[in-house]
Point group: C2
Chain length 165, copies 2
Amino acid sequence: MHSREKSVLHQYIKRFQLKRSKRRDLILEVFLNTRRHVSNEELYLLVKQRDPSIGLTTVYRTLKLLKECGLARELQSYEGVILYEHDYKADHHDHLICTVCGGVLEFFSRDIEKAQEKIVRKYKFKPLHHSHRIFGVCEKCQNRTVPEDERLQSKTISIKQTTHS
Amino acid sequence: MHSREKSVLHQYIKRFQLKRSKRRDLILEVFLNTRRHVSNEELYLLVKQRDPSIGLTTVYRTLKLLKECGLARELQSYEGVILYEHDYKADHHDHLICTVCGGVLEFFSRDIEKAQEKIVRKYKFKPLHHSHRIFGVCEKCQNRTVPEDERLQSKTISIKQTTHS
DNA sequence: CTCTCTGCAAATCTTTTGCAGTCCT
DNA sequence: AGGACTGCAAAAGATTTGCAGAGAG
């Protein structure tokens, strides 16, 4: 399970004369088993279920290490918290994000993927992954009248809640 | 100058029975005059040049207000700091981001814009803006041999430095 | 006059760092 | 044995909140 990723990590460790450890392996494994985005805190709680003696600091340091060796990358956070994601190949799609209700619609466009290939070829760029988000107002929210007294202060929270859906 | 945006803010204020203030107008104006991304801190320093009596807290609160009324939106930060941007219509482009050197190449693809329109029509979505980023390795970095002992710990910093270019 | 806005200081939350002990090679 | 890894507590940084006074309607 996840042998490719483990080997990437171990090679990186060898190359820079770092040292392997049970904890790093465990954190990597738990990270790869997450659905999509995690924060340090979230990952810490997950890892703690498997090894309660682990510290939050170690998760921070390991996630940074995973970022260095290309297994994790930072993602937009809507609340000043850094989120991390890994490759989730079987499941690629882009997002339409409603700025009113915070809902997320997923879409996939072969045209866009093709156009991307063209761009990438033009610039001799070797693509690894991409993120494409269109922000706007969804059909439902275009048709609904926002109650006059409803300030959208909690908007970012609802976006956060639906990000994983 | 910026009369449309000012009117958006003032209508929002009226609608929720908030109160107008010199400071909010000033912060909005300085924000709109900013080139692209600013953090609360950066905007605070800019605003302070025009009105030294202003407090950082007010900038935080005003930027949150601008977000609520749609004039500002949060942006990816590479360091746990929230950045804000506004519409900068004359200057739209997408990004190729090199994960090795952190360099950013800007591109514009009519094909992608067209494909987007198609998607948006299909979902009856009213688009406001979008963000499209392709991550990978740029031409230069593909051809350069990374020194064997160079850990990329400082990568996020170099990304930050080139984000504005 | 009432209720919002503001600056300040304090509180909170996230992330990093120093240190002493433990683990890996 | 030597250096890297780890947990803890403390530090540092970013953002929010409580409060008393100033300002808008």
